[in-house]
């Protein structure tokens, strides 16, 4: 099984590619977290069964290493009449799951059910017919080819290229699409300095939030006197509303592993650690499989491909602390300590994990590395903007039609993401704001729709790209309540080490809770601003420094809503229940009594066929009447 040198790797790659070609068709069933929840496992089993019933060979395993050569006529040892039915990683179009892609037709079926399998097999697989009702339809157009669907057509998928197209649980699939060729190139044709220089010249910036230059970090680690060095991958994707890294770890784990080995070679590290959130069990499972297969084939471990370079990789599971996404907290957690940040300097590149020089990058950053090595720094810089080259994956969620995972060049505008790829606001409501960068980020509003999304433009605007979560909010979202929600989150996650963050976020949360409950005054707003600024200026780590950002940015952009809450005691969206009243419009009410019967506190009175009324002193604003009124006579406001 072990691949001992470059020649054998080339052979393994060729053999894998041939095996893929030998498949008369390929069915890729999305087995990302989203589609699995929709039942894609059953769809997979059913389709495998149907193929076997037809006497077809399913998913022939490819063997590598010594003793397994081509057939005497040079052809691939795999029989040409076999079927590839694969569980793939996330296709990104989570809203439409479970998703099934069929090659070579290139069709994507959406919202597939187990009961559709027989039809898919008999019509599409056996006869090549496309089943119209399973296609994605927009504005009356049914899209046959996946690549033509506007959601995909407007994207540039480089990091996510293989996600959804290969089976992430088999290394041969990664080989078939040219996997580990960048590692081979680095190990045999480049010196470690050349690798560092290539990444440095590409100006790749860290995808985890800060946007710090990756090559700069690598160069610093490579220059340290200490010879024991580590490579660490931050897979602790904790921002609520972000799942880019999860999809890469689940859908194309080898790409990230390859990036880590290249990083190790470049900076002279022999060991690497991947720190993954405990909330991502599937990502952990797929990474374990990928590491085991890479070890078995000799791409990890001693003397990789006979190059003399050795590299070991470990997985550490997180234990539910958001602050561990911060570099020094993350390394403390791997060391078995409380995950608390420490003061800097010394920086992680000087004294990181176990006190040794450490390269710390996130999943998406490492996944960028192989293609930069393969195609060169100049190629990479031709994508995106001048100061932020490359692409960025975003998780687009919230009140949007096409929820999912997308990848676009840096500098793409919010408008293109929301309206072209995202398909617009759910239920055709009005766009209100987008929360970017999670609880550490800020809010962008209607006038920002044409802002190019890259590290620097967002920083100027007082927001940050963060890890790439975009939560779209419509007119029904109360921005004050959203600010309270984020403050509640950071307050919970504050590690308690420094006072500004520990005490300050608690006081800010209390102020916001009072406002939402209808007990706020204008002074509350001033205090929020003062506290927020102090916390930003004086906290120890990134979590504290950015904790007040959502409040400060909404206070700036949605001040009128805050004022409404504290002065008029009104919440225009009806989200803050203490601030709204429910009323019955006498002109619309037919007096059917349904509301009175549904009211849990008997606050509604009236006589049949006459308009009913709500006793505001008894009403608990639960909205049971509102949901049940057949005439739309009841409203909240």
């Amino acid at each position: 099984m072990r691949i001992a040198n470059r020649e054998e790797l080339a052979l393994a790659r060729e053999k894998s590619a041939q095996a893929m070609k030998a498949e008369s068709y390929r069915i890729l069933i999305c087995a990302g977290t989203g589609c699995l929840a929709g039942g894609s496992e059953k769809i997979y089993e059913k389709l495998v069964q149907l193929a076997k019933d037809q006497g077809q060979q399913v998913n022939v395993t490819v063997e590598f290493g010594e003793g397994i050569a081509h057939n005497s006529d040079g052809s691939c040892p795999v029989n040409g009449n076999c079927a590839g039915i694969k569980k793939s990683g996330c296709h990104g179009f989570c809203e439409m799951g479970p998703l099934v892609r069929i090659e070579p037709l290139g069709v994507l079926y959406i919202k597939v059910k187990e009961s559709d399998c027989e039809e898919i097999f008999n019509k599409t697989i056996l006869q090549g017919q496309v089943i119209e009702r399973l296609l994605y339809t927009m504005n009356g157009v049914a899209y046959k080819a996946q690549e033509d669907i506007p959601f995909y057509a407007k994207q540039t998928r480089l990091v996510l290229k293989n996600c959804g197209h290969i089976d992430s649980e088999h290394i041969s699939e990664y080989f078939a699409v040219g996997g580990y060729s960048a590692l081979e190139k680095a190990l045999f044709t480049m010196t470690p300095e050349e690798v560092v220089n290539c990444i440095y010249d590409s100006e790749l910036r860290g995808r985890g939030g800060g946007g710090f230059q990756t090559g700069y970090k690598w160069r610093q680690v490579a220059r340290q006197k200490e010879t024991i060095r580590y490579v660490v991958c931050n897979g602790d994707e904790g921002d609520p509303g972000a799942f880019m890294d999860r999809s890469v770890m689940e859908g194309d784990p080898h790409k990230m592993i390859e990036g880590m080995i290249i990083a190790g070679y470049a900076v002279g590290a022999q060991e690497g650690y991947i720190y993954v959130r405990a909330e991502y069990p599937l990502a952990i499972k797929r990474l374990k499989i990928a590491i085991a297969q890479a070890e078995e084939t000799g791409l990890l471990g001693e003397n990789i491909l006979g190059s003399g370079y050795s590299f070991k990789l470990h997985i550490n599971r997180g234990a539910g602390a958001f602050v561990c996404g911060e570099g020094s907290a993350l390394t403390a957690s791997i060391e078995g300590e409380r995950g608390m940040p420490r003061t800097k300097p010394p920086r992680t590149v000087e004294q990181g994990l176990f006190g040794k020089p450490t390269v710390l990058n996130n999943v998406e950053t490492y996944a960028n590395v192989p293609m930069i090595i393969n195609n060169g720094a100049a190629w990479y810089k031709s994508i995106g903007t001048e100061k932020s080259p490359g692409t960025k994956a975003f998780a687009v969620t919230g009140s949007i039609k096409n929820t999912g995972l997308i990848e676009v060049p840096m500098g793409t505008t919010l408008r293109e993401i929301v309206y072209e790829i995202g398909g617009g606001i759910k239920n055709d409501k009005k766009f209100k704001a987008v929360q970017i960068g999670g609880p550490s980020g800020g809010c962008l509003i209607g006038t920002d729709l044409d802002l190019p999304l890259d590290f620097d433009s967002l920083k100027k605007r007082g927001a940050m790209i963060g890890s790439g979560g975009l939560v779209i909010m419509d007119e029904d979202t109360c921005m004050v309540e959203v600010a309270r929600f984020f403050m509640n989150f950071t307050q919970n996650e504050s590690c308690g080490k420094c006072i500004p963050c520990r005490e300050g976020t608690k006081r800010m949360l209390e102020l916001l809770e009072e406002i939402v409950a209808g007990n706020g005054t204008m002074e509350h707003l001033d205090m929020l601003e003062e506290l927020g600024t102090a916390i930003t200026d004086t906290s120890l780590c990134g979590l504290g420094k950015s904790a007040a950002l959502p409040v400060l940015s909404t206070l700036r952009t949605f001040r009128d809503e805050y004022v409404e809450h504290v002065v008029d005691k009104r919440c225009r969206t009806g989200v803050c229940k203490s601030l709204c009243s429910i009323t019955i419009d006498p002109a619309k009410c037919k007096g059917c009594s349904k509301c009175a019967r549904n009211c849990p506190v008997s606050a509604i009175e009236g006589q049949i066929r006459n308009p009913y009324t709500i006793d505001q002193s008894k009403c608990i604003k639960c909205g049971a009447c509102l949901d049940n009124c057949p005439f739309g006579a009841i409203s909240r406001g």
Binding site: T33, G34, L36, A37, G38, C94, E95, G97, E237, G238, D239, P240, G241, A242, F243, R246, R277, A278, E279, Y280, P281, N316, R317, G318, A319, G320, A321, F322, S333, I334, E335, G336, E337, R338, G339, M340, A395, T397, G398, S399, T403, G404, L405, Q435, G438, P439, G469, V471, M473, T477, V482, F485, F486, F489, N492, E493, C495
Partner: protein
């Protein structure tokens, strides 16, 4: 006093890692996934084996959200309270669950030890918001009505 089998299990887990203090977190993670909580007696035992103080082990175990010294119910329900789920009304789902499971304020596990209700900051399944998991199985696009169906189907299974 816990049964001898508990300590034997812990010995087995520790043997798989080693006795360096850096293995504390993975070891207690494995113990917790075995018993679905972290028996305090075992924490002291592990601390001794790793040559660290009990206080130190306790400080680590209490820092991380995932560790629990309380026994959990047979079904652990985690309701996602991430941004996407929050915007899509995840709170209504949580409130309904508290009502259906008849949990008093501050109570996490039902008296019959069948259900434990927790919130989690983000499950990363934002496309399916609002979501919850029952023993790690993801249930997408939840509504208060679907919560009632979910609980009653589990109850039915339990009675059968």
């Amino acid at each position: 006093m816990l049964d001898k089998s508990y300590y034997e299990k812990v010995d087995e887990i520790i043997a798989g890692y080693g006795t360096e203090s850096r293995f504390l977190i993975p070891i207690i993670q494995d113990v917790q996934s075995e018993y679905r909580y972290l028996p305090p007696e075992l924490l002291k035992y592990i601390a001794d084996k790793l040559h660290i103080t009990e206080a130190k082990a306790y400080s680590v175990a209490t820092f991380y959200e995932n560790f629990s010294f309380d026994q959990k119910g047979k079904y652990v329900i985690k309701v996602c309270d991430g941004t996407a789920c929050h915007v899509r009304k995840g709170t209504d789902v949580l409130e309904k669950l508290r009502e259906v499971l008849q949990l008093k304020p501050g109570q996490k596990t039902t008296d019959d030890m069948l259900f434990t209700l927790e919130t989690v900051s983000c499950l990363g399944a934002c496309g399916l918001a609002p979501v919850l998991t029952v023993n790690d199985e993801v249930h997408p696009a939840m509504t208060p009505d679907k919560v009632i169906d979910l609980i009653s189907s589990i109850m039915k299974e339990e009675q059968a």
